[in-house]
Amino acid sequence: MAVATDHHYRAYTPAPLTKSDIDEVEILFGGLHWRAERLLQAVFENLGYNARPLPVATKDDLLTGRELADIGQCCPTSFTTGNLANFLRSESERIGAEQVKDRYVYVTAGSCGACRFGQYHQSYELALKNIGMEQFRMFLIDQGQPDQGATAGGGLNINMPLTLGTVWALLAADVVQGLEYRTRPYEVNAGQTDEVVRQCVDELYEVFRNRPAKGEKWGSIVWHLSTNYFVKALREVFRKFEAIEVDRLQPKPVVKITGEFYLQTVEGDPNYNIHRWLEAEGAEVYPAPIAVWLDYLIRFQVQSLEDYVGVDKGARAKVAALKSVQKVFGWTYNRMRAAFGNIPHEMPDQYELRRLAAPYFHHKLSGGEGDMLVGKALWTHLNKKAHMICELSPYSCMPNTMSIGAMAGVIGQYPDLLYAPIEVKGDAEVHALSRCQMILTEAKKRAIQDYVAAMETTGLSPETAKELLAERPEMRRASYRVPHRGAAATAANLLYDLADMTAERNAA
């Protein structure tokens, strides 16, 4: 006699998404900034899927997330869970729950190990149960596997064209964001940068949407690596930045954003709109490119293989192969940067980050950003890439609390590193921003010090600099790159640049 097992609890498994379903459904996704989401939408559409990003998460979503899932979540979980639940609820009111379950599916990255990121699905499941939508289909994509094949039912194929399209879209979105943040703080006509960026993203959306099909695997890989298709498109849109006039002779503090992936990436309520807030407070924001996270994922794999060097015969060759992939990845990013005049920030070398973090945080410690938070803080500080670090740390985040603790040792040794770890709860904005404000005040002083030091070294006064710039209109365009001359402040670097040019001219 078979013993009954049906009464036991079982986890949620999504109903299959079949090939015939896929034309009828819209794929929902989210958790990035709007530029990346728009380009991702194009990647899905290019492959014949209907897709749309969820609206930017709001404080209401946070409250819904907290209400629907188990207590004590980290705030990114609450935001993303609430965001999905509220969208489904509002759509249910509009078209009915039955329609919602047939018409939408949710796709998210997951299954990546130690921290709660790998367990988000549990919160989603609970939320779906609590809003009576257990039938809703949700799929997790393993971000470590580029070619994982079809999801249950065969409707959605996580293959090379999708993965490569996603990576290329993220890199393109990064460079757009990088250029944008180096431009807007200095724009002469308020609002022009936003307008141009919107146009650029719209054009790039079409470029990704019309990406030619080049096969399911090797064809697609070879084409992505060899084509000029994306770089050409980026060069085209870069021209639009020539129209933006900038005044970079403003000594603004440069603030490097680091922190937990979701919080450093999104732009909205989940991180108190910190990017915009910092700009409004007079800062130049150095955003966190998604590319650095992808590069870190590769480094993490390399490290796992390195452990076996000397133990397993093939390990050394595997390390070399994966490092080559990483080089190609960096090269692809740099090609896109070059299309934008190399103005977007470079990607820090992962092994340099590891070396810098090593005395304080072991490179294998996983979850969240691992040793990168310590590494990035030191890299930024020692190379004078920014005046301060604003680390966005989610309330109740496991790995972040650990690296913040380790930063105590870093600050002990580098007391002049301006470090603002901001605990983000989602609803304690005033407290968090005022904390940031305090450190920003000091960063502003440093930006002015940089500028004064540049004036002293170059002998250029702001008035003379202005006159020189008047003679060189190309240097007043957003498309002009001010080289990094050892100062964090852009205005100071511009003075050094002008002085060099003048010296060259005089010599000639």
């Binding site: 709660r116 930063m407 002990g412």
Partner: protein
């Protein structure tokens, strides 16, 4: 390439073990986090290297006094209690020893040799467990190097216990400068000994749990399963809640040491395997697909066991203040248990102070419910368990089976 690896097997022998010097070493290990389920590994390992067990000193149980006396002012961050109390453990080993230690050994345990390994996605430690030592150490280095001032070598290797092949390399790199005359070969043998000792200890503990279970089955008496992280065995972290319960006469089983003999596993999980829900008794994919974290996986597995064994009529869940790993598991664990009619009680947000009054009341409540309902729960669960329970002597097993079948058909 590391020198030790470049050496061919036929090359000159490596350094000579300086056994005399090693026998004089005193090694302090903070009794923290996953050291609770790996301490036997460390005893076996250092023992094999010639450091006598009585010279491997563990810090005491966590206590408020320990934190006050030795850890004050050294905390670097506000987080879950089991990590936060680490400063007190370190401080006790640095400042609180009559005979000074030479080495403070605090492994960053990256992954664990869980009994579920091979059946789950991974066996990682919680991010805070693995990084805990980096965090605690910062509190002893931020102004000056407190370890060096006290003549102590601080050694904190990252150790992937779930990957035995690389553990010798990890430990050799970390210890070659502090254990006199250490060679790689010797480290490898000591690691093997560590695993052997740990396995031996676990086997013995599981055998004792089996005796308890057999007694319960024979006498048809209820027992309690504790679902918690290993460090909840620390009186200062788990507050000995299960001990209070035991005082009411209920035997206690810790999920970590539940017997995993094949006969028992087949009996418990056979029906689920036959129905295609799982591939093996240690597969938890049916309840927890993101099975990356060793301790979390074991809690989920323990809940499944508790739901299926008739004599486990109550499960208690212990969770520490601000535990991030436990949070997503609250609902699944509770549902696994309660769907099987088993009693479920959860003690959450445990921190430094034992809420003695409320624990007493809750323990009384648990005992009351167990008294009231255990008989019924055992019957209900027996009705849906397969025949041939290996915990019962054959004859009794047959009788119980016949009874269960009768009950089911009634």
């Amino acid at each position: 390439m590391a020198k030790w690896f470049a050496r061919k097997p036929s090359a000159a022998p490596g350094p000579r073990p300086d056994l005399e010097a090693r026998a004089k070493l005193r090694i302090g290990i903070p009794k923290l986090l996953n050291v609770w389920t790996t301490h036997q590994f460390w005893l076996g390992f250092f023992g094999a290297l010639g450091v006598p067990n009585n010279r491997v000193v563990f810090s005491g149980d966590t206590s408020e006094e320990q934190a006050r006396e030795f850890g004050r002012g050294r905390g670097t961050v506000d987080c879950c209690y089991p990590v936060k109390c680490g400063a007190g453990h370190y401080g006790e080993l640095v400042f609180g020893q009559k005979r000074k230690i030479d080495i403070l050994f605090s492994p960053m345990i990256y992954s664990l040799s869980s009994f579920l390994q091979g059946h789950v996605a991974d066996s990682l430690a919680c991010p805070r467990v693995m990084a805990g030592p980096e965090n605690i150490k910062a509190g002893f280095l931020k102004e000056r190097d407190v370890f060096a001032e006290n003549g102590i070598r601080y050694v904190s290797p990252l150790v992937s216990l779930a990957e035995p092949a690389i553990v010798p390399k990890q430990l050799y790199e970390a210890l070659k400068d502090v254990i006199p005359g250490l060679s790689y070969k010797e480290t490898r043998a000591a690691v093997d000994e560590g695993y052997r000792t740990l396995k031996g200890f676990n086997t013995e503990m599981r055998a004792r749990s089996r005796e308890i279970l057999e007694w319960c089955a024979r006498e048809n008496r209820p027992c309690v399963m504790v679902l918690a992280r290993p460090y909840h065995m620390d009186a200062g972290i788990g507050h000995e809640i299960e001990v209070d319960l035991q005082a009411y006469g209920y035997p206690i089983l810790w999920m970590q040491y539940f017997p995993i003999d094949d006969d028992l596993m087949q009996w418990i999980f056979g029906p689920d395997m036959a129905a295609g829900h799982i591939k093996s008794p240690f597969d938890i994919d049916d309840v927890w697909p993101s099975s990356y974290s060793a301790n979390t996986n074991e809690i989920l597995w323990g809940a499944k066991v508790a739901a299926r064994v008739p004599w486990i009529t109550c499960a208690i869940r212990l969770t520490s203040y601000e535990c991030g790993m436990d949070q997503p598991t609250f609902t699944p664990v509770q549902q696994i248990i309660e769907r099987s009619h088993t009693l479920f009680f959860s003690f959450q947000e445990l921190d430094s102070t034992k809420p003695a009054g409320s624990v007493k009341i809750r323990v009384e409540t648990i005992s009351f419910y167990m008294q009231q309902s255990s008989e019924r729960i055992i019957e209900q669960k027996q009705a849906v368990t397969p025949p041939g329970c290996p915990l019962l002597p054959q004859a009794e097993s047959k009788l119980a089976t016949a009874k269960a079948e009768l009950a089911a058909s009634a």
